[in-house]
Symmetry: C2
Subunit: 244 residues, 2 copies
């Protein structure tokens, strides 16, 4: 990145190739003009949240800011984490989403479980998507966390990619230090709700190939288990950081 | 644990040996009688937060509950994590403390840094100690997180145990997957404040033997870095859980 790049980091749904111009949506125009206070001629970084990373030159600021793409590099994710999570207590879902986004999780799939559903969180998905965007900017990631609508476990399992690594967070599982670190490809973590999975749900998960993994030497709250699992996945990356 | 053990888990400052009787303090009497609703004759588990784990039989409930120690086993910690942390933004210190306690961190040492101090959090230490106690109960741990008063970095470093592993959370550090997993003994994690450590502070930490470690492939907020570091430490335990 050039020395004059500002700390701004935009999320733009469609990024043209180098040389292309783009009029930003309201949100990003506001962010660029009012929050980052960039001026015409300055450069900013942008992603489409799906792996593209572009260097943009600001042409016009204001309510409908215009930028020109100087360079744009597209990449696909070599590693991807999906989190299937039962509902934690109280308002803890908000920060679960924020932290999963910071740690680079690709998909957040809330699971309505027999011992606890996400009803209280109805209408939260817009808020969660905003939290995910803020975390993407904060962490300067090129992949945006996808926040899905709640499903029951069997539905969610039917939609999982084949050939992934499947892990069930479980205080009585194999210690994380004794299982292979998650490298490339998709890795799925299933976290029960605050009251735990029912025996039937556990059976469904085991039949689907989920293996129990213990992330600590003690029980963790639902949201902490989700975080610890995502940290375990995130810390297993072997490359040095190459994000902007 | 016997089948009649209730989910209650008490924190008792001094635990007599087997056969001894004990009148509980107000807080624990209330917790036992009102929250857990145990009755005379029932058994509960207790810790002193310093490694002792006891099975208690309830003799009397009420405002000054009386229990008898049936068995008490004392242990010292084979692994211990200390977190030295600069201030995160807003109210994020609260959940930092809660999550560090759940993950089994032994010492939380807030660090007043050149680019950010804990002034806003003055008077929080009582609240943090309550959060640590709640997390200990939740996770049924036998070691209570020690919440210390803020210090500047040089002071805190002077008080560290010798021969520990010293790690500085740093997005540009060695990937966690490429450094030895923290096993027995003391491991110390240093996390900068939201605005980062100053170059001078970084120098002080490096001179003291802190090595930079990257917990993710991207930048993390201060509180997320603390969590990810503690998760890394916690997930490296090789024993299966043996907590009650």
């Amino acid at each position: 990145m050039p020395a004059d790049a500002t700390p701004s980091f935009l999320l733009v749904s469609e990024l043209p190739s180098a040389g292309g111009r783009l009029t930003l949506e309201d949100d990003e125009s506001h962010y660029l003009t009012r929050v980052c206070r960039v001026r015409p001629g300055e450069r900013v970084t942008a992603t489409d949240g799906r792996g593209a990373l572009a260097l943009l030159r600001v042409i016009e600021r204001g309510r409908r800011a215009v930028v020109e793409v100087e360079s744009c590099e597209r990449a696909s994710a070599r590693r991807q984490a999906w989190v299937l999570a039962g509902a934690p207590e109280g308002e803890r879902g908000d920060w679960m989403v924020e932290k999963l986004a910071e740690l680079g999780v690709a998909v957040f799939q809330p699971i309505d479980c027999q011992r606890g559903g996400w009803e209280r969180m109805k209408g939260r998905s817009d808020r969660w998507r905003r939290l995910a965007v803020a975390a993407l900017r904060q962490s300067r990631r090129r992949f945006l966390l996808e926040v899905r609508e709640p499903q029951v476990l069997a539905e969610a399992l039917a939609g999982l990619p084949a050939g992934a690594g499947y892990w069930l967070a479980d205080a009585a599982g194999s210690p994380a230090a004794r299982v292979p670190a998650p490298r490339d490809g998709v890795t799925v973590g299933l976290i029960g709700p605050a009251a735990g999975l029912s025996p039937a749900e556990r059976g469904v998960a085991e039949t689907a190939g989920f293996r129990p993994i213990s992330l600590s030497d003690s029980r963790l709250r639902a949201e902490t288990a989700a975080l610890a699992w995502a940290s375990w996945w995130s810390a297993a990356v072997v490359r040095s950081p190459d994000r902007p």
